[in-house]
């Protein structure tokens, strides 16, 4: 499903060069649940951003679902992200002016679905994360855990090939974190490919495979 070859990412700040990824060979198969761990500064989130097409690597290959994404234009990458990838961010990343339903429906509308179909699918997606009763609430009216569940709902509503999660439980209490991880496990049991960055060992254990990064390289 995802394959990287000698992935390198270097940040240049004036004359200073920071080599964050130093040649990552990484592979994720369809239906796998992969957790990426490492100490702060190891390059976990940077790796996630490269393989999720949110950032541009300095060099190396990335092949997603058989497609070499290296030469894609900005618009092509945007379309690829819209149709094949899903994202769950650390701080929920919901649009404050849209209700839970509208947040989830937005990518569906962007895909070309009409409003009725988009809203129906969004409602089903919210029900999957047990938020069917909160569809008309704004993010400001939801708890942190509920917002993260809306974020997950948005990420899966359009049935992406791969779901990327960047520290999804970092801003949640234990109970909400457990709920979110249960949702991820359920999704994975239904065949969803998930790649998650996390600090938490106990949540990483839920994954099928753990990848540890240290100093920009995969150590295990």
């Amino acid at each position: 499903m995802i394959k990287t070859k000698n992935l390198i990412k270097t940040f240049i700040d004036g004359e200073k060069e920071t080599h964050v990824l130093k040649g990552i060979d990484f592979e994720a198969k369809e239906g796998e649940f992969i957790a990426i761990m490492g100490r702060s500064g190891a390059g976990k989130s940077t790796l996630l951003y490269q393989i999720s097409l949110l950032d541009e690597p300095t060099s190396g290959e990335i092949i997603i679902d058989g497609v070499d994404v290296h030469n894609m234009s900005v618009d092509q990458k945007t379309s690829f992200r819209l149709n094949r990838l899903g994202y769950v961010f650390q701080d929920y990343a919901l649009l404050p002016d849209l209700t839970a339903l509208e947040n989830v429906a937005l990518p569906l509308l962007m895909q070309g679905k009409n409003k009725v179909d988009a809203y129906n699918e969004a409602t089903l997606s919210l029900e999957k994360v047990n938020l069917g009763h909160r569809i008309n609430n704004l993010p400001s009216q939801l708890s942190g855990g509920e917002q993260q569940r809306v974020s997950i709902s948005r990420a899966i509503a359009h049935k992406p090939k791969i779901l990327f999660a960047d520290e999804p439980t970092a801003n949640l209490d234990n109970a909400s974190s457990a709920t979110v991880m249960e949702i991820f496990k359920d999704l994975n049991n239904q065949g969803q490919t998930i790649i998650m960055v996390t600090h938490e060992e106990m949540y990483a254990k839920i994954a099928d495979r753990l990848i540890r990064l240290d100093d920009g390289r995969i150590v295990t």
Partner: protein, 414 residues
């Protein structure tokens, strides 16, 4: 593209709905004021002259004026011309006038060696008081005394232009007459005939053709100057509502009247200087309005820029989850359009429902005209379009600047 526009609209509606109410009101107020600046400034400047033009029409020329040809002393065949215009259905009313240059003197009885009598050149006009008043409401301009009656022989109305009390000017070649008031005596010399008259009233108008003349009853005037053939100097005509002065002119030409008299619509009869000033003021008004437009554009630019930059993270998120940057730009264009539409809509309502009627009923009292607000529907909508265009551009540019920023940097707040 239609899908992008629909989603842009979707985002814009929600952003406007949930924006801070007072901020929205403030922005719309700026738009309203800009629109009013665009319309009212040039409208008042043009109206200053338009007031003069309108006054000229209402109080002197009427819709149409027939006057003597160049190098002629009067309108030949005046009586036949009057018979012709009386038979034309377009004519609602008319007034015949007789004019001659003369001299007006006062203080001639009380002059001593040390004091001079006062005299000034003046146009002496003979009018039918009833017809003239019906056409031009000239009696409204009486500021002292009373208006002429048809049998008022040896009585005159003096225009305020000649009087020191109303025109306190001392310059070579011009004398303002003092001690002239209703009941005082004035000696007029016209066509070599000198006669003493009693001042019945003083006229004060912003139309020089009223204030800068001395009026007497037409029958006496004709006797004095020997105009027994009743050939007049000008005939002012008011047409019925809806009649075209231009078509009326063509009809008169077909009747051959142009051989004996000059035919002019009220527009033809406008002094060129008035037309030139009108054009200059319109230009000036547009220039001033442009400054207001620039200010409004900058305001919208700043508003959208601040909005977009504070939402940079959410813009990044939207791009991250696959929302096309153009959709986001379109949403900001719609927001800008909302502000411009609201501002223009409220502005148009204020202009046509409040300001235009207000200035019509209460014109600005300028020394040389009653200033009104000139606002045509087409001109006003053109300005609304201009405001819309300026706002669209001012909203699009900052949105594009922010949307083009790196997606990940925006999400992470870098």
């Amino acid at each position: 593209m239609i899908q992008k526009i629909k989603i842009g609209w979707f985002l814009a509606i929600r952003q406007v709905r949930r924006a801070n109410k007072w901020t929205t009101i403030l922005i719309i107020s700026v738009m309203v004021l800009t629109f009013l600046n665009l319309v009212v400034v040039s409208g008042i400047l043009v109206g200053l002259i338009e007031g003069s033009v309108q006054a000229q029409k209402d109080y002197y020329t009427g819709d149409f004026i027939i006057s003597k040809l160049d190098k002629k002393d009067y309108i030949e065949k005046t009586t036949e011309i009057i018979d012709t215009i009386k038979s034309m259905p377009e004519v609602a009313d008319y007034a015949v006038r007789y004019n001659e240059g003369g001299v007006a003197e006062v203080n001639y009885k009380t002059k001593t060696k040390d004091t001079d009598e006062e005299s000034t050149s003046a146009t002496i006009a003979g009018i039918d008081p009833i017809a003239e008043d019906r056409l031009t409401n000239i009696s409204d301009f009486i500021v002292e005394g009373s208006y002429l009656l048809p049998d008022d022989y040896d009585k005159v109305l003096v225009g305020s232009f000649f009087l020191w009390k109303y025109t306190p000017i001392e310059s070579p070649g011009f004398t303002s007459l003092r001690n002239v008031y209703p009941g005082s005596k004035i000696r007029l010399t016209v066509s070599g005939v000198t006669r003493e008259f009693t001042v019945k009233g003083i006229l004060k108008s912003k139309v020089d053709d009223v204030s800068a003349k001395i009026f007497m009853v037409d029958k006496q005037f004709r006797q004095i100057v020997g105009r027994e053939d009743k050939n007049a100097d000008d005939i002012a005509i008011r047409l019925v509502a809806g009649a075209s002065p231009t078509l009326f002119k063509e009809a008169l030409k077909r009747a051959g009247i142009d051989k004996y008299a000059r035919l002019q619509t009220f527009e033809d009869a406008q002094p060129k200087i008035l037309k030139d000033i009108k054009a200059t003021f319109a230009l000036l008004g547009n220039a001033i309005g442009s400054i207001g437009l620039a200010v409004a554009s900058i305001t919208i630019f700043i508003v959208i820029f601040i909005n977009a930059i504070t939402r940079r993270k959410f813009i990044g998120i939207m791009k991250g989850i696959g929302i096309d940057g153009k959709v986001i730009e379109i949403s900001y264009i719609f927001q800008s359009m909302f502000y411009a539409l609201c501002g223009s809509g409220i502005g148009i309502t204020i202009v046509f429902l409040i300001l235009v009627p207000f200035f019509k009923a209460n014109p600005i009292n300028f020394p040389f005209s009653d200033g009104i607000l000139v606002a045509t529907l087409s001109g006003t909508f053109a300005r609304a379009g201009l405001l819309m265009l300026a706002t669209l551009i001012a909203g699009y540019i900052p949105a594009r600047m922010i949307v083009r920023k790196n997606t990940l940097d925006a999400i992470l707040g870098r």
